[in-house]
């Protein structure tokens, strides 16, 4: 029996990526990273800023995501996100820009704990990429 399942990543403007031969996906879920294999139970959760890794037979793909939700159902993983970048294609200057924006956001006084947590997380991930 094959161990593969389907992954689809869509952003509001287009379908970002669609793969049929995926063996494992690591998603940065809100309550911690989560590895999804074939025949996982149906699940819905949302993402925090982090690295999404897709393992296929031919290798692995890494993406940086900021937010979104994912749904796993009938061996079909759909990731809905408004900001996702391919780590291979992301440029240094863009990364710096993202960090700058995030730090600006973090320096604001009037944000609640949850967004503070998310923004700190974002900065951490971005810095680790740099």
């Amino acid at each position: 029996m094959s161990e593969e399942f389907k992954v689809e990543i869509v952003n509001p403007e287009a379908s970002f990526l669609s793969k049929e031969d995926v063996t494992e996906v690591i998603v940065p879920a809100f309550e911690g990273e989560m590895g999804i294999l074939k025949d996982h139970i149906s699940i819905i959760s949302f993402l925090k800023p982090g690295i999404l890794i897709i393992y296929t037979k031919s290798g692995e793909h890494k993406f940086y995501v900021e937010d979104g939700i994912f749904e796993f159902k009938n061996n079909n993983l759909s990731v809905l996100t408004s900001s996702i970048f391919d780590l291979k294609k992301i440029e240094k200057s863009m990364l710096m820009n993202l960090i700058k924006l995030a730090e600006e956001e973090a320096s604001k006084e009037d944000i609640d704990d949850q967004s503070r947590f998310l923004i700190d997380q974002k900065i951490e991930v971005l810095k680790s990429l740099n």
Binding site: V10, A14, F30, I43, I44, S45, E71
Partner: protein, 291 residues
Amino acid sequence: MASLDDLKKRITSVKSTQKITKAMKMVAAAKLKRAQESAEKGRPYSEKMNNVILNLSNGISDKETAPKLLSGTGKDKIHLCVVMTSDRGLCGGFNSNIIKKAKNYFGEILKEGKELKIITVGSKGNDQLKRQYGNKIIENVSFKNSKNANYFDAEKVGRIIIEKFEKEEFDICTIFYNQFKNVITQIPQAQKIIPLNTESADKNELEDSYEFEPDEDEILNNLLPKNISTQIFKAMLENSASEQGARMSAMDNATRNAGEMVDKLTIQYNRSRQAAITKELIEIISGAESL
């Protein structure tokens, strides 16, 4: 009767108008293709989003604690209407159709004695509504500088709406936009986005039970604001495809009309030229005869 010179001038002027409308038609056709493509590409996202929300809202056991964005405030005193139009004119009935639909709705609301607030997206809608409903317009957003509809703009509108909702400035929110059916037909739509209409759910498809992490409420709280932006974005995409479609057919009509007019004027020009020649001839002949 207009003199020959006047006729000639009119013909040239109609001809150059025709050139402009023809060019506009071409441009609209090219843009339409792109807008249509992005409208189609954007559909999976909003559909998936909708599915997830339907699944989630079905999973919610206690309706009382459901997020307000989903269930509404329980009142329907203040209505917020988001009227989405284009920033440019010359697109046939595109803007007027939305405005007409919206005005009907406004009339009903006011008749029932409810309060009305309007947000206009796109400057043409603002122009048409401000005379009659000027004091009701609380915000006017326009994206003249963005070339295509993009999610970033939609998010801006979404954020305005959510901010106002959290301040309890309105109870029910409806968006007005044109749905793109094909190049010649655009259907004005009124869609309620707050509270969300979840009753149309097909129950058969929703039997799967899901695991939620964290719990349903929290996911919904995170998801619903995104859904608003997504709906707005969808409306923007539909709108931009409709706008180009409407402009294309309007400009096609204009070009054809101009062609007919040129033909008519040319006949008139030739007739009056012939009449002038005949008149001169008669004068010459009768002058010669009288000698």
